[in-house]
Amino acid sequence: PLPLPRSFVLKCLEQARRVQAEAVEMQQKLCATYRLCHPEELTLLGHSLSIPWVPLKGCSSQDLQPTRCLRQLQAGLVLYRGLLRALVGISPELSPTVDTLQLDVADFATTIWQQMEDLGTAPAVQPTPGTMLTFTSAFQRQAVGAMVASQLQCFLELAYRALRYLRGP
């Protein structure tokens, strides 16, 4: 098993809860401000804009593979940071939330990356956020915001379960 320091796992759990709370807040603000309250209605739009979806296969409870899980979690966080960066300036009401969320997602990714480096399990190349999304309308940007907020929560719930398993009793 991967010798994960307990303080590292505890920090990750706290960061996951922190980011989760901010993603919920972002979703609530998008719902209140733009009536985008049903992200499931935006799946088709997501495909058309090729919004990347981040699988966490290594973190599934049936087949948890710690090294793979941490790599996918870190890569996913880097991807979400890129998606959030595209939403900067989305609106005055949302900007503070998006800015904080972006910073916290980036810090969470750094926490995991540095731990992987310390354990010698970091991939040779740091994952990158990928190409910056561009939007043809304010609606598209707001809709992607709703999708990102929703997907990020699912992503974090899966990650949280895996981290809790890694924490042990």
């Binding site: 505890l10 706290e14 904080t100 910073l103 969470f108 750094t110 926490t111």
Partner: protein
């Protein structure tokens, strides 16, 4: 062209140090009086017979003066010409005297979850009597702070303040950073000892909110020696695992606090028994981030409940 000008060893010096200055009366001005008498003032005080005056081949006159100890933190040195029995001011030099900055001490930092910034404060040390700039310097690090990673933008406190606030966007949370204070004035620079900390480990929590809880409805009669309460952690810290302490005391003269063993923040209600019946109690609670490091909040305002 100026009639005369002052040359001086330094305009800023240590309090009590000597200062040497010379005042040169140019030849163009000397013709007014073949033997011009150069006089000095320090502030308002005329310095009698203190200057050593010499003539120069080019016809100029030069007076040199040495003040053994400058004991004024801010003053002027003035050069006069005694001309037709009136003192004519030729030039003046502004002088400051003070001390190099002492090492700033007692640097401490707290992470404010409301403003999402790291607020550090320090003791500036004794007054230097000179304009002294303090700067909070830091860089990102990791592990035990032996490596320097990205530098962080200098934090310059407001004038006269011994604290500075590093905004969230400059911070890397959950990783160690190195922080210190630099004090600088014209006479020198000094650095405080360095701190190695993760901003999240120095979070200062606000106290939880204590509330009364109705006794269990299934209970026929509420026990006379019990009180029921619940609490909510401070909202900005809701994502943090915490432990909390409850203390209580009867509203009686000389009553002292009794304390309940730490309560994990996951339980947010509590039945407190073993109390005196028909008595009003004051209850307070405080919390701390746990098991990860943190600082205790202050005690909450008292909640007053009465046993039946």
């Amino acid at each position: 062209e100026n009639c005369g000008h002052i040359s001086i060893s330094a305009h800023v010096m240590r309090l009590g140090d000597p200062v040497t200055a010379s005042c040169t009366v140019t030849q163009s001005c000397s013709h007014l009086d073949p033997e011009p008498q150069i006089l000095w003032k320090l502030g308002a005080e005329l310095l009698q017979h203190r200057g050593r005056q010499q003539s120069h081949p080019d016809g100029s006159q030069k007076s040199t003066i040495t003040l053994p100890h400058l004991n004024s933190t801010h003053t002027f040195l003035l050069c006069y010409l005694n001309w037709s029995n009136s003192l004519q001011l030729l030039d003046q030099a502004e002088l400051w005297a003070g001390y190099p900055p002492a090492m700033p001490s007692n640097l401490s930092c707290l992470m404010n979850l409301t403003s999402n910034s790291l607020i550090c404060q320090w003791e500036p040390g004794p007054d230097t009597h000179l304009p002294t700039n303090f700067t909070l310097k830091s860089f990102k690090s990791r592990g035990d702070c032996q490596t320097q990673e990205d530098p962080i933008k200098d934090c310059v406190p407001a004038a006269g303040q011994s604290s500075c606030s590093i905004p969230r966007k400059h911070l890397l949370l959950y990783q160690n950073m190195v922080i210190w204070v630099q004090a600088e004035n014209a006479l020198g620079t000094s650095l405080s000892p360095q701190l190695c900390l993760d901003p999240m480990d120095v979070v200062k929590l606000e106290p939880p909110t204590l509330m009364a809880l109705d006794p269990n409805p299934e209970m026929a009669l509420p026990q006379p020696d019990c009180l029921w309460l619940r609490w909510e952690p401070w909202k900005p810290s809701i994502y943090m695992d915490q432990k909390c302490e409850l203390r209580y005391r009867p509203q009686l003269r000389e009553a002292s606090w009794a304390q309940v063993a730490p309560l994990p923040s996951s339980t947010t209600r509590y039945e407190l028994c073993g109390l005196r019946p028909a008595t009003t109690y004051a209850l307070q609670m405080r919390c701390i981030r746990w098991p990860l490091p943190g600082h205790w909040s202050t005690w909450s305002p008292s909640l007053e409940l009465q046993t039946t």
